[in-house]
């Protein structure tokens, strides 16, 4: 009876089979290809992707990368902001676009974050010269931020540092919008503190060399950032007016350094050093070059260090200490000019910012290629290799060396098929294999494939 049912079924299906229009199969390939073209153009491939397994493979990766990417982006965004701000501020200053309309978008950020950064990262007198020119006289007193209030309080405590001086070294946008972006201000201060520590270390080294008195003493005339002034009243008290050339007593400088060392407060010390790194806002380019020359004649030849240390030593020349060496000074100046573009990078690097970025690089979890992974991939291609059967049955021993990137770097076929036509075919079959990458040395495996009918 089962046969009867089968017969009935087959008869019914045969009926269906006979309904196929004539010429249908001749036209079917073309129809299929045209449909394929159409679907490729319209991209209607949801089910196909699901079937092919590409989408599921891609989506977890994407989702897995999502949070990390987000984190990275968040972290990077801050860094880029600083960089962009620094770059824009630098370009503005170097171009001396005084009076021109400032970039509308970045004012906020420059005001909040890069104000203090600039003070740290632009220690060269040449760059600082333009800052007073950038300053706008009309500062709305009604919108004073906490920092400004603190700065004023500090200035009251430190009578030598005049309020005019502090306001001169703040950007107009900084004055206008500082209160709007406290977040960036905090960020800027954080970076400033980090950079200050680095600068302090260098200063400490310089102190060992005996150059510290003049260096730190001259730091006083530059009370640009209000917080720095506020946090370093000692510097402020020792500070003469920005245009003065009188050398402050070395004792004050030593005391200042001692305070920075013993204080234990890294940020305060940093800010002190930031203030110390600030040069006097001398308008005279000649004086500036003199400073540069004398500082370079004394200290580190490298651009990075030179940029930081230079202003600290500049007062020496003003104090008429006869150590001038014009020729190396010129060299140093040109070096520094070349290093102008690297000031921020160098400082950021010193502050450990780049290291943080490097740390975000993904590391491979796998340290080796497991035999399971190897077998899995090779097993996937075994069918292809089996197609190399040309009448001779036997085991092909395939020796494979896989690079850590997951590519086959070396493949050879041994066993019964060594140096036989099948060997080339098998090598070709496996050559394109891709293994999961790992972090380590290349690995070799041997894999056997039975070629049979």
């Amino acid at each position: 009876m089962s046969d009867d049912l089968d017969d009935l079924l087959r008869a019914a299906m045969k009926t269906l089979d006979e309904q196929v229009p004539s010429g249908y199969f001749e036209a079917l390939p073309d129809q299929t290809l045209s449909r394929l073209e159409g679907s490729m153009q319209h991209g209607s491939g949801t089910t196909e992707n699901r079937k092919a397994g590409t989408a599921p493979a891609a989506s977890p990766a994407a989702s897995g990368r999502g949070p990390a990417a987000k984190e990275e982006r968040e972290e990077d965004s801050g860094l880029h902001d600083i960089r962009n701000l620094a770059a824009s501020a630098r370009s503005r200053m170097s171009n001396k676009r005084i009076g021109s309309v400032p970039p509308p978008v970045e004012d906020d950020l420059i005001a909040s974050a890069s104000g203090s950064l600039k003070n740290i990262a632009l220690p060269q007198p040449a760059k600082m010269v333009s800052l007073p020119e950038l300053a706008e006289p009309e500062v709305s007193s009604t919108r004073k931020s906490k920092k400004e209030l603190r700065a004023e309080a500090a200035l009251e405590e430190a009578p030598a540092a005049s309020p005019a001086t502090s306001s001169r070294f703040s950007l107009p946008s900084q004055q206008r919008r500082r209160s709007k972006a406290p977040l960036f201000a905090v960020l800027g201060l954080g970076v400033a503190a980090a950079a200050g520590v680095v600068i302090y270390m260098q200063m400490f080294q310089n102190a060992d060399e005996g150059s510290k008195p003049a260096a730190v003493a001259q730091s006083a005339p530059a009370p640009t950032p209000a917080p720095a002034v506020a946090m370093a009243p000692a510097a402020g008290s020792a500070a003469p007016a920005p245009t003065t050339t009188a050398t402050p007593p070395p004792a004050a400088a030593v005391a200042q350094e001692g305070a920075a060392t013993a204080g234990g407060a890294g940020a305060a010390a940093a800010d002190q050093q930031i203030a110390a790194a600030e040069p006097a806002p001398a308008d005279d380019a000649k004086a500036e070059s003199k400073k540069t020359a004398k500082s370079s004649s004394k200290n580190a030849p490298k651009g990075k260090r030179g940029a930081v240390e230079k202003p600290a030593e500049a007062p020496k020349s003003e104090a008429k200490q006869p150590e001038t060496k014009p020729e190396p000074a010129k060299k140093q100046t040109s070096k520094e000019k070349a290093a102008d573009g690297e000031d921020f990078d160098a400082l950021l690097k010193e502050a450990g910012v780049q290291d943080q970025k490097k740390d975000t690089k993904p590391k491979l979890e796998k340290k080796t290629l497991s035999s399971d992974d190897f077998k899995k991939v090779m097993g996937g291609l075994e069918g292809k290799a089996k197609a190399c059967y040309k009448g001779t049955q036997g085991n092909a021993l395939i020796k494979v060396t896989v690079s850590p990137a997951g590519q086959i770097s070396k493949i050879s076929v041994g066993g019964e098929f060594a140096n036989k036509p099948e060997a080339g075919c098998i090598e070709k079959a496996f050559k394109s294999a891709t293994f999961p990458p790992w972090d380590g040395a290349p690995m070799s495996y041997t894999y056997a494939v039975l070629l049979s009918d």
Binding site: M1, S2, D4, L5, D6, L8, L9, R10, A11, A12, M13, K14, T15, L16, D17, E18, Q19, V20, P21, S22, Y24, F25, L28, P29, D30, Q31, T32, L33, R35, L36, S39, G45, T47, E48, N49, K51, A52, G53, T54, G379, G380, L381, E382, G383, K384, A387, Y389
Partner: protein, 196 residues
């Protein structure tokens, strides 16, 4: 499989001509399977083309572990099942009257082209219509399994591979489909089946 390799490799790399040759090679079996599952030419035609489109897109992921036709068959069955489960045309067979029975699934414009032979007419009478209606009443999974086992005459192992179910499930579905068909067609349960 070995003889398919050149075209398969080329098609995998996007060679449309090679893929066209693959289509020509397999289209009849793919179409037949789709037709037997879906029961009409229109749906079978659509499913066949869709199968090949999917196959072309999925070729880069075809690892060669399974036989190419088995893989293609799996796509065909899945496509047909999607159509059946879509509910649009799954019950087509049951809705047709006796006059249409001889041309179930045929395109209206094609009906006159393939005039059935007298022998065919004898076969495709009321009995054929009843069988087709009974098959159409089966669930999609039972219908597919029955068609693969009885009409396509695939071994249970291959059916299990295509449908990605255990072989035992295949056997159960085939028996269940037969039992239901017999019940609906008023056929007596065979002793051999009862013994099983």
């Amino acid at each position: 499989m070995g003889d398919e390799d050149p075209d398969l490799d080329r098609a995998r790399n996007g060679d449309r001509e090679a893929f066209g040759r693959l289509v020509r090679r397999h289209q009849r079996r793919v179409y037949a399977a789709a037709l037997h599952i879906l029961g009409n030419h229109s749906d079978a035609d659509d499913a066949t083309q869709e199968t090949f489109v999917r196959a072309f897109r999925g070729l880069p992921t075809f690892d060669g572990r399974a036989d190419f036709f088995t893989w293609l068959y799996r796509i065909t069955v899945n496509t047909a099942l999607n159509t059946l489960r879509g509910g649009k045309r799954g019950a087509a067979l049951t809705q047709r009257g006796g006059a249409e029975a001889a041309h179930v699934g045929g395109r209206p414009e094609a009906l006159g082209q393939n005039a059935p032979s007298p022998a065919h007419k004898a076969q495709s009478g009321a009995e054929v219509q009843r069988v087709l209606s009974a098959i159409a009443e089966l669930s999609a999974s039972l219908r597919v399994t029955l068609v693969l086992a009885t009409i396509e005459e695939l071994p249970h192992k291959q059916i299990a591979e295509i449908l990605e179910i255990p072989e035992g499930t295949v056997a159960w579905r085939v028996n269940e489909a037969r039992r239901l068909l017999r019940q609906r067609l008023g056929l007596v349960e065979p002793l051999s089946a009862a013994r099983k």
